[in-house]
């Protein structure tokens, strides 16, 4: 900004006179930033750093940020409710934290002090399983945990239900 103020003294003489005189030429020639300069100075500044531009009010900005964040977190699954048949209350876990099915199932087994046995595609959960882990997917259907790839599970799981063994029989593949 400093270079703009290197004018000769006459040019900086301040007067309150009406325009339409030779002042007009002085008005035009002083303080003139070439449009190139303006372009450069503005285009090199990263957009995010221009305060208050674009002119979106803080309230709206906050709402937009929240909306973007929540749509991101929808993709990642985040916290889902976990219920177990017979338990007095539900729990919530962040399935984003786990990397695969064994991690998740171990965590759930610890949470509810139950055992779910071993998963096979053919039989579902067998071999010492009192309970079977199921989940509600985006379509509202109840599915057996473990059938689909882990990443697909994480994005489609809405809630978990640990079903009692007797009820769960029907969920194994025939």
């Amino acid at each position: 900004m400093a270079h703009e103020n290197d004018m000769d003294l006459k040019a900086t003489e301040l007067r309150l006179g009406l325009p339409g005189t030779s002042d007009r030429d002085i008005l035009k020639s002083n303080n003139k930033r070439s449009s190139n300069e303006m372009h450069n100075s503005c285009s090199t500044a990263p957009k995010a750093q221009v305060v208050g531009w674009p002119p979106v009010r803080s309230y709206r900005k906050n709402v937009l940020q929240q909306q973007q964040k929540s749509s991101d977190s929808d993709m990642l699954g985040m916290y889902v409710k976990v219920s177990m048949d017979g338990a007095p209350y539900l729990r919530k876990i962040d399935i984003k934290v786990y990397k695969n099915y064994p991690d998740l199932l171990m965590a759930v087994e610890n949470l509810f002090k139950c055992s779910m046995g071993v998963y096979t595609e053919r039989e579902g959960y067998t071999n010492g399983s009192e309970y079977a882990p199921t989940y509600e997917d985006k379509d509202g259907d109840w599915m057996l945990v473990g059938d689909v790839p882990w990443d697909m599970f994480v994005t489609s799981c809405k809630r978990l239900r640990i079903m009692k063994g007797s009820e769960a029989k029907g969920l194994g593949r025939p």
């Binding site: 900086t12 301040l14 007067r15 325009p19 002042d23 002083n30 957009k47 979106v56 009010r57 937009l64």
Partner: protein
């Protein structure tokens, strides 16, 4: 002739005058009319809280019932006014508490309101009816508790877009059980959940409730119950509508909405699942105002809803509507008067939606009553602006924000001077204009020449020299508010048009080229202006006079320099010396 009318007759006649302009004119006729009028003025509007003092207002108008006061300059909305700048309402409340015991209405915009102020309001005015806090800040839900508990005749509580420190939702439960006078409640800015049963009971016992804007915390499955208790509602704002769709929720909602035969305005819709929108179809044909600007819904779903709103007058929407949606709007909504299109992703360099200048052109062609536009987009052309101007010479407000600063006409790469020039030339009733894109001094020449009814002008990253500012200040006869940021305007135009500033409410200039020396000179020459330099780098005296100030706010006043300035604001004074607060 005048002397033969008894005062009571004149007072009776003056009571029919509602506009301030008319009352001001009447006051100038003669001393006795001045006296009679000032005793019967009931409503006062103060456009700038620092232009006049509470004492002056009270001295002149002793019997006021309704006050509306505005504080911070408009650019405060975009964080350009530093924290602690001012606009404190407490001195006003405290003065009015002593002198206006019968005050009924307080409406504030962009002011700092404390819990102390709210408590004082709630205890000082026995017949208090209307509290409207628009874009205010500084208070908590405790302040709202005082209002709820003590204002027995409250009709309106409107907190639109205020920043409230939300300590708890308990404030709503402070309305006493025998409180039944509520007509309007806007709590949309609050975060906390209020007690739902308290809300239900409140709504049930207030038969005159016409306006209810809920906050996000009220989930969609609870709406039906509220609507059933208030089928007389005219304006309704939902909470978040993000609960996964279930048949029972949906059918309850359909039934509840169909019972609302008087609904004219809908808003809210945060995070709305599109499958809920059809629940409102039964009311669409009566809807005149629709605020979907928080609804992240895609164009086809928006079009489905909008196509049923044949009486729509006002639409606020996100740019998800896209050009295709705007085309549908222009064919279904022939009564449209106001359109605001907000950006869904303002900070990304690339467009995320297919919304261009074409959408606006189409609406301008198809909606003959369109008079007010706010439009965010990423490309614009002179051709489009000229088309809009020719289509809609009846435009009154035109605010265009091209997201990239100094973006040229994307077709010709020229500045957008001729486009905006066409707007001011054709739209002779234009009162408000916001410019964006690449603009030279030429556009200001057009504005100064044609925009004779223009009252408010907002500029950013525009112009080449002082000539631009000079055109505006010397040509725009009706100009009241001018706000400028990042433009190469400096001392000469400002000083050459100093007298003009006394005819305006205010001038804001930030990141421009106005020197400290010029500010001092302006302050010296114009005793009826407060010339405030805002500079967070420390006292301007510590730098050479030729250095540009960070921000300048100039406004006319009869109250002298203000006494509540923070340490980064200096008033330029008649003495030419710095005046600290």
């Amino acid at each position: 002739m005048v002397y033969s009318f008894p005062e009571e007759v004149l007072e009776y006649v003056f009571a029919f005058l509602s506009s301030d302009k008319d009352r001001n004119a009447v006051s100038l006729v003669c001393k006795s009319w001045y006296e009679i009028e000032r005793w019967c003025r009931r409503r006062v509007f103060i456009g700038n809280c620092y232009a006049v003092s509470p004492q002056i207002m009270i001295r002149r108008f002793p019997e006021v019932r309704a006050v509306k006061i505005k504080g911070k300059p408009h650019f405060a909305d975009f964080n350009l006014v530093p924290e602690r700048w001012g606009a404190y309402v407490y001195p006003w409340i405290s003065a009015m508490a002593r002198s206006y015991p019968w005050l009924e209405e307080i409406k504030l915009k962009r002011m700092v309101v404390t819990d102390e102020s709210l408590e004082l309001i709630s205890k000082s005015f026995k017949n208090f009816k209307v509290l409207s806090l628009s874009s205010c800040e500084g208070f908590t839900t405790d302040g709202l508790s005082s209002i709820a508990a003590n204002c027995r005749n409250l009709r309106e509580l409107d907190l639109r877009e205020s920043e409230v420190e939300d300590l708890s939702g308990h404030w709503l439960s402070h309305f006493p059980d025998n409180f039944t006078s509520l007509v309007s409640l806007n709590m949309s800015c609050l975060g906390s959940e209020v007690s739902f049963s308290a809300l239900e009971r409140l709504i049930s016992r207030c038969p005159n409730l016409k306006t209810l804007w809920l906050n996000r915390a009220v989930p969609v499955e609870k709406l039906a119950s509220l609507l059933r208790r208030a089928p007389q509602l005219v304006e309704f704002g939902t909470g978040a509508c993000s609960t996964e769709i279930r048949t029972d929720i949906f059918s309850n909602l359909v039934e509840a909405f169909s019972g609302c035969k008087h609904l004219k305005s809908l808003s809210g819709f945060w995070d709305v699942v599109p499958a809920y929108l059809p629940a409102m179809y039964s009311v669409c044909s009566r809807i005149t105002k629709l605020n979907l600007s928080y609804a992240t819904v895609q164009s086809p779903d928006l079009v489905e809803l909008i196509s049923q709103c044949s009486n729509l007058k006002c639409l606020w929407v996100l740019d998800y509507i896209e050009d295709a949606g705007l085309k549908a709007l222009s064919s279904y909504c022939k009564d449209l008067q106001e359109l605001r299109v907000f950006p869904s992703d303002p900070y990304s360099a690339e467009p995320n939606v297919s919304l261009t200048e074409q959408g606006l052109v189409t609406v301008s062609a198809g909606c003959p009553k369109l008079q007010s536009v706010l439009y965010f987009c990423r490309q614009m052309s002179n051709a489009a602006l000229i088309a809009i101007a020719r289509n809609r010479p009846n435009l009154i407000r035109f605010r265009l924000c091209i997201i990239e600063p100094q973006a040229p006409d994307y077709l010709t790469l020229e500045p957008l001077d001729t486009g905006f020039g066409a707007i001011v030339e054709h739209c002779k009733e234009l009162r408000r204009l916001s410019l964006s894109g690449l603009l030279t001094d030429r556009v200001f020449e057009y504005i100064g020449t044609h925009a004779k009814k223009l009252e408010m002008l907002s500029l950013a990253f525009a112009g080449d020299s002082d000539l631009g500012l000079h055109h505006v200040l010397s040509g725009c006869e009706s100009l009241r508010k001018l706000e400028i940021r990042d433009c190469p305007f400096g001392d000469r135009a400002l000083l050459a048009n100093a007298a003009k500033l006394e005819t305006m409410r205010s001038l804001w200039m930030s990141s421009c080229s106005v020197s400290y020396g010029a500010c001092k000179l302006l302050g010296q020459k114009m005793p009826n202006l407060n010339v405030e330099v805002i500079d967070e780098r420390g006292p301007p005296d510590s730098r050479p006079e030729s250095i540009s100030v960070e921000k300048l706010y100039v406004y006319r006043t009869v109250a002298g320099p203000r006494a509540d300035k923070p340490d980064f604001v200096w008033t330029m004074d008649e003495d030419g010396a710095l005046r600290f607060s």
